[in-house]
Amino acid sequence: MPSLNYVAPATVQEAVRLLAGASGLAKVLSGGTDLLVQLRSGRTRPELIVDTKKIPGIIGIREENGGFVIGAATPGMALFEHPTLKQTWPGVVEAANLIGSKQVQGRASLAGNLCNASPAADSVPAMIAAGATCLIAGSDGTRQAKVEDIVTGPGRTSLARDEFIVEFRLPKREPRSGDAYLRFIPRTEMDIAVVGCGVCVTLDANGVCTAARVVLGAVAPTPVLVPEAAAALVGHKLDDATLEMLDAAARRACNPIDDKRGTIDYRTKVAGVLARRTAAIAFNRASGGKSAGGH
């Protein structure tokens, strides 16, 4: 392996300075469950690794203005262990806890899952559906971005070379709203999504949907927010006609690859089915039910 340097800065500013000053490729390290595999296989050959985990606040969850601030390097398991977060945004927590094994969940972070930029990343559709934003630090200071604006293609993000994600913000959950994430895999555990689907809905007192976000994973080069699928839900209760419109809109949004996990036709069909099932859980939660999501 060529010469590799490792640094663990204690502040955001120092991390940015190190990233900006690197002459070759610099990689940000949070949980490392993707980065270490890529280092070993030679898929990435950085000259510098900037470990963010010594930065105060980069690991941890706090409630703020009715929402949540989640440190970028917080492991998925910590999300699962946070009772209020789990109760408020169950879809996000379930998605984070579908990533790899318990060993991986003890380490893997939301920022890593997002910035690894796999089209099949489990936490990303759930975060987008929930309306999550991230705080990004760079040489010019910090900026806020929507999670859906980060991934630009497989393995590619909109972050500049001197930028990294410091924290995520989940908004205050609206009354009578609920989120859910489901993924489809051929096994029961430890696999990569054939299709993933995140849905967040808000209902009125009669159970009619007033706002919705529907996001698909693993069916396009990036996770896709599907406004047409959301439009199929808004103004309706979750009846058969609504589900049929949702299913069709989800299928139309698909632009998947053919690979060993599924053909184009198969992924497209599953996207429609998964959208129906995920929406049913989100509606149930929005009306006070406790449907289980995840698998």
Binding site: Y6, A8, L29, G32, R40, S101, R107, M190
Partner: protein, 161 residues
């Protein structure tokens, strides 16, 4: 870059070592510290044979740089027994003969201990999902699960048949 000096805690004892930036914790445990109980199966976080507990969290030591262990508490399979007294999980693995070739066993025992540290009353389903990241190609998992559930019962103070 010269080697990095790392100070950490392994199995309750202060430990220090020198490592290259790219060396994994697994590599250092096995090849520098002679703690060869943790195994390298896949080296990509899929098989769980290198499972360790860091600050109470189960993880794969192949997915962690050795330098990242700085200031943390690492428990390996060598630290699971208390002196000559086996951990209930170890005792029940022997009782059930929950191993054949034994390669996955250290990782399974560490992972099972991590489960029982947080929940001494897991359902069979919970135990199976928890251990899904530990691959065994010999046993078919059934004896493993029975051993873990009996270890849990033992830890709850129940008599195990």
């Amino acid at each position: 870059m010269s080697k990095i000096h790392v100070t950490t805690t392994i199995n309750g004892e202060p430990a220090e070592f020198l490592c290259e930036p790219h060396q994994t914790l697994l590599d250092v445990l096995r090849n520098e510290l002679n703690l060869t109980g943790s195994k390298e199966g896949c080296a990509s976080g899929d098989c769980g044979a290198c499972s360790v507990i860091v600050d109470g969290r189960l993880m794969c030591s192949c997915l962690m740089l050795a330098v990242e262990s700085t200031g943390h508490e690492v428990t390996t399979i060598e630290g699971v027994a208390k002196g000559d007294e086996l951990h209930p999980v170890q005792r029940q693995f022997l009782q059930h003969a929950a191993l054949q070739c034994g390669f996955c066993t250290p990782g399974l025992i560490v992972a099972a201990k991590a489960l029982l540290d947080r929940n001494t009353n897991p359902t069979e389903t919970e135990a199976r999902y928890w251990l899904a990241g530990n691959l065994c190609r010999c046993t078919g998992y059934d004896k493993v699960i029975r051993a873990v559930l009996d270890a849990a019962a033992e830890m709850r103070g129940e008599t195990v048949a």
